[in-house]
Amino acid sequence: MSGRGAGRQALPAGTLGTVAVLVRRDARVALGGVDGFASVLPFVAAGVVLGGLVLGPDPAALRTAAPGLVWLLVLTAAVPLARVVAAAERDEDSWDLLRGLVPPGVLLLAKAAVLWAALAVTWGTGTVLAVLLLDGAVPVAGFAAALLGLVGVAASTTVFGALLAASARGAGLLAALVLPAGLPALLAGTQAGTAADPLPWLALLVAYDLVAGATAWAVFPFLLEE
């Protein structure tokens, strides 16, 4: 059929350069505005403060709940962040250009990289606030869990973002999908930051990344078709 399908399975030469061009463009657009990514950070800050108030004044309870609270906020923030994949591009009529110039696999990598960076900043902001306000602590394993777990969350959210743009209706229902898809990251990421032996949880996150990445690689090209 058309030439588009030719780029589905293999990544062409210059892939990293193209990914870098796309990521740089998305970063500039995100940093230049007050909506989108910038609106997520106040949401996370409010979530940490309100979460602390709900949990009560017991420092031990706050310290125990802090990592899970941050992961929950990151997962929730993934829903509005998914707009950067395709919906924002489509609204501004730039989506067709990307589909015409960038093979699906490269587009997936670039958008997942943008989302990973946005989610990492979101996790970092939430964690700093949790340390300051909830007396939380972040062991090295907690950082490793974030770096690993957010890969799978970014891959799932990229698929969700493409699905969101492809479906004019049912966006609310689709939003309910991204949260269960991130459940392994929520559970393993929280446990890796608090358990005495984090290695099994980190291994679980690697497995989650592989499954989420392979699924995204398989379905993303089909979500671009009309």
Binding site: V29, E89, S94, D96
Partner: protein
């Protein structure tokens, strides 16, 4: 089935073979065979809803036809006026971005040349695309087409929002793209009147194509 092969007997830049499109049982585009040679310009006319956009999006590879096949020798672009940029990108950055994705060795210099050729005043090059007028934004889209230099260009209603000077810029851009070897499909209800010479003219009526010349 309608068939048209303008622009010479060599290998076509764009080949549509009996492509048809149906949405929900309704025929949006009746079977059409079209071969465009490199450098050929084809004007597609028709009323709103006649199927022009569907034809162009199939030609650009964005829409899979319900039946038939499509092939192109290289990149294909589908552009509406104002498309191809993010609102917060500066005009010159948006064109350079497209050039970088297309593999231009010096995208910034190519972007400047493309914007100049499309008649966007230099003082607007560093303005955010979202703060340009519709006509100015449409010229940025033309510059995107120039800088990418695709094998197939599908311009949908490119004369929209444009004054006489802007329409002249469209004519220059179409001629330049064709001169560089691109097969150019231009659709619009008023395009034929404003564009002048073309290698083929198609008229769409409720999804059925008539070859006018």
């Amino acid at each position: 089935m309608t068939e048209s092969s303008p622009g010479g007997a060599g290998p076509p830049a764009l080949s549509l073979h009996e492509v048809a499109c149906r949405y929900g049982g309704r025929t949006v585009l009746a079977p059409l065979t079209l071969r465009l040679a490199p450098g050929a310009v084809c004007v597609v006319g028709g009323a709103n809803g006649a199927g022009k956009t569907t034809l162009l999006r199939i030609a650009a590879g964005l829409v899979e036809p319900t039946s038939g096949s499509r092939s192109a020798t290289g990149r294909a672009l589908y552009l509406r006026p104002g498309a191809g940029t993010r609102r917060r990108q500066r005009a010159v950055e948006a064109v350079a971005f497209a050039g970088a994705l297309a593999g231009r060795p010096e995208p910034a210099a190519s972007a400047a040349a493309a914007l100049a050729s499309c008649g966007l005043p230099e003082e607007l090059w560093h303005r955010e695309a979202g703060r340009l007028s519709a006509g100015q934004h449409a010229r940025v889209t033309l510059a995107v087409a120039r800088v990418v230099a695709p094998a197939v260009v599908c311009l949908d209603e490119p004369m929209e929002h444009l004054d006489a000077e802007g329409r002249a810029a469209v004519r220059r851009t179409v001629a330049a793209l064709a001169g560089e070897g691109a097969a150019v499909l231009v659709a619009g209800s008023e395009v034929a009147r404003h564009l002048g010479a073309a290698d083929a003219r198609l008229e769409l009526t409720a999804g059925t194509v008539t070859v006018l010349g």
